[in-house]
């Protein structure tokens, strides 16, 4: 069993508090992604789990054992770093065998495990190469291989794909996913890239300023963000936010003097000003005057399969609509926007979301 439990974990450097009490349980075999803007403490948290940063307060428990003061090597973890961190003076085989050699493992066992890891990652032909003779993707594969060889209880990935180019990143993302399906080991993955987070994770942990904002499955975060920050962070292009007023029984709002827009949330007492959240993909384009709001097209970004329309509603930021690739709008066209009420989000003055009446169909 290798459940990982964080209990009120804190970290500060002198007076500067970096992690403010994080509570989290990660189940055996789970793929958990820490995501957040840079400086949110996600890497620090990972390094604390690894044992590379001391823990100022709270407990890190792996498999039922408190590991606060246990050395990284004895925690049953393996880590993959953003900069690959390969030993430049050792060849691929030497890099992968290094930890085992140090642990005094039997030569035959080392050989078998290195060969097996090389086989999984397709590195068989490269075992005699030095890191500098490898491409970025191959280097990252060696770094992952080095982790596999140690047969850890928990894999830790610290932004492993950030140094790769876009195409390679997609490819390696799939490889990591397949690796997880194959090894079924707990993996904790840190990234600032929300696409990586959405595609890889069983559960995503969204962090901001050293605090957990929300933990949930990717779709849970997408459909039911707990607050303004998570709503804006998950999804691309990001969610549009409109200042609005509640009218009627509290489930209707008006924004920019629009007709009442119904939001399917459970009404509760909360202080305004309120914010309406609309994802770019949850807006229908209609004739001007037919929808709840009218605007003017500022820019049409055509990606071929889809088009991002930037619509001017009089705010400082344009309202982004994700439309079909074949829409004929050009800059300056008037357009009507219609909002389907089951995909809208409403936030109070604190940024907390109103709970939706119904959970999304894909989330149990």
């Amino acid at each position: 069993m290798s459940d990982l439990v964080l209990k009120d974990v804190r970290k500060s450097y002198g007076d500067a508090k970096v992690i403010h009490g994080v509570d989290l349980e990660i189940r055996d075999g789970e793929f958990v992604v820490f995501v957040g803007p840079s400086g949110c403490g996600k890497s620090t948290l990972l390094r604390m789990i690894a044992g590379l940063e001391s823990i100022t307060g709270g407990d890190v428990v792996i498999g039922g054992e408190q590991v606060n003061d246990i050395a990284p090597a004895d925690r049953g973890i393996a880590m993959v770093f953003q900069s690959y961190a390969l030993y430049p003076h050792k060849d691929v085989y030497g890099n992968m065998a290094f930890a085992l050699r140090h642990a005094g493992e039997d030569k035959a066992v080392i050989d078998e495990r290195v060969k097996k890891a090389a086989d999984i990652l397709g590195l068989d032909a490269l075992l005699k190469r030095k890191p500098k003779e490898l491409s970025g993707g191959q280097r990252q594969r060696v770094a992952i291989g080095r982790a596999i060889v140690r047969d850890p209880e928990i894999f830790l990935f610290d932004e492993p794909l950030s140094n790769l180019d876009a195409a390679l990143r997609v490819q390696m993302r799939v490889e990591i996913l397949r690796l997880h399906q194959r090894l079924k080991t707990t993996m904790i993955y840190v990234t600032h890239d929300q696409v990586e987070a959405m595609t890889l994770a069983d559960r995503i942990v969204v962090l901001r300023d050293g605090r957990i904002e929300q933990v949930g499955t990717p779709l849970e975060l997408y459909h039911h963000p707990k607050n303004h920050f998570v709503a804006g962070f998950i999804g691309s292009p990001k969610m549009n936010f409109l200042a609005c007023d509640r009218v009627g029984d509290g489930t209707q709002v008006t924004a920019h003097g629009s007709a009442p827009i119904t939001v399917l949330v459970k009404p509760r007492d909360a202080a305004g000003p309120f914010t309406l959240g609309v994802r770019p993909e949850h807006v229908d384009l209609v004739e001007p005057g037919q929808g709840q709001l009218d605007g003017t097209i500022l820019v049409a970004e055509r990606l071929g399969g889809e088009t991002f329309l930037h619509v001017d509603l009089g705010d400082s930021e344009p309202f982004v609509v994700k439309a079909d690739g074949n829409v004929r709008y050009v800059s300056g066209d008037p357009v009507g926007l219609s909002f389907p009420s089951d995909a809208l989000h409403l936030f109070d003055a604190n940024g907390d979301a109103f709970e939706h009446v119904e959970r999304h169909a894909l989330i149990a």
Binding site: R47, A50, G51, L52, A73, I77, F81, A85, H89, H102
Partner: protein, 290 residues
């Protein structure tokens, strides 16, 4: 038309490149000549007899001017083999200590966060600004108290102390540029801090160690001051001190002096060749996208 102009432009730039190349090499060759001329003169004249040296200092040793008398004197009179091994022992030991202690101190300063880190860093580096010879009297008194006068250990200690500041300075700066991840990775792999230093950090800084070794080595080998003061006994004489016996108050046995100097060049040359291999390896490994 465009082809022609681009072609002629290429040709003229190639011609320009050639002339710049020539100029660069001319300057370099000239400098090399100036730098190496005294050495050539020393080696040439070491193969001449006294008359040959004074009648034609620039001449090639041949016929009656050719003589091995200088070498004969050096190898028979005095105990040159001892001087030699003394110099080697002192230089190699001091170098080893400078590199080992310097690298360890630099690693600690660059890697660990602790109180007084900056202070200790400045303290260690301060020695660059204070010439160690200012402390000669105090050092001599200290060595007398420690009963270390006329031992090689005295020299080794003094040279290690004088070489450390620059070594620490250069190595610290370089170690700060080493990737943190690779050391953390070694920690996750279960290496102790000492093994991280010896098995991960030292291989990475080998080119810089070679640089520090090369320019720490020459002043130690060539020093006359401290051997004269701390270890002038016959058993502990170094080469530079040994040569002095041929320089009398009234007569100087030039053949012997030049012969001993020629021989004295060889070991440093050998050590340099050893380190420069590392230097070149370091330079190229950086150039080929590490």
């Amino acid at each position: 038309m465009t082809d022609m102009t681009s072609d002629s432009r290429a040709r003229s730039s190639r011609a320009k490149g050639l002339s710049t190349k020539f100029a660069v090499h001319a300057v370099l060759a000239g400098y090399t000549l100036i730098a190496i001329f005294p050495v050539i003169l020393v080696v040439l004249n070491s193969f001449k007899n006294r008359r040959g040296i004074f009648t034609d200092p620039l001449g090639i040793p041949a016929g009656e001017t050719f003589s091995m008398e200088g070498y004969a004197t050096v190898l028979t009179e005095g105990d040159f083999l001892t001087y030699f091994s003394n110099s080697l022992i002192v230089t190699v030991s001091s170098l080893f200590l400078i590199l080992l202690l310097g690298a360890m101190a630099a690693h600690a300063l660059a890697e660990y966060r602790f109180r007084l880190n900056t202070f200790i860093g400045i303290y260690l580096i301060l020695g660059i600004m204070v010439p160690i010879r200012l402390g000669t009297v105090a050092i001599l008194e200290l060595m007398v108290d420690l009963n270390l006068v006329n031992t090689l250990l005295a020299l080794i200690l003094v040279y290690t102390a004088s070489g450390l500041p620059v070594a620490v300075f250069i190595l610290t700066e370089f170690m700060r540029t080493l990737s943190r991840d690779i050391k953390d990775c070694a920690r996750v792999d279960g290496l102790s801090e000492y093994r991280i230093f010896f098995e991960v950090v030292v291989p990475l800084i080998r080119p810089v160690l070679a640089t520090v070794a090369v320019f720490s080595m020459i002043p130690i080998w060539n020093d006359l001051w401290f051997p004269l003061i701390l270890a002038s006994g016959d058993a502990t004489k170094t080469v530079t001190l040994g040569v002095q016996q041929f320089i009398g108050q009234y007569t100087v046995n030039w053949s012997a002096v030049l012969a001993s100097l020629s021989i004295a060049i060889l070991p440093v040359l050998g050590l340099y060749a050893l380190f420069s291999r590392q230097l070149i390896a370091g330079i190229t490994s950086g150039a080929v996208k590490g």
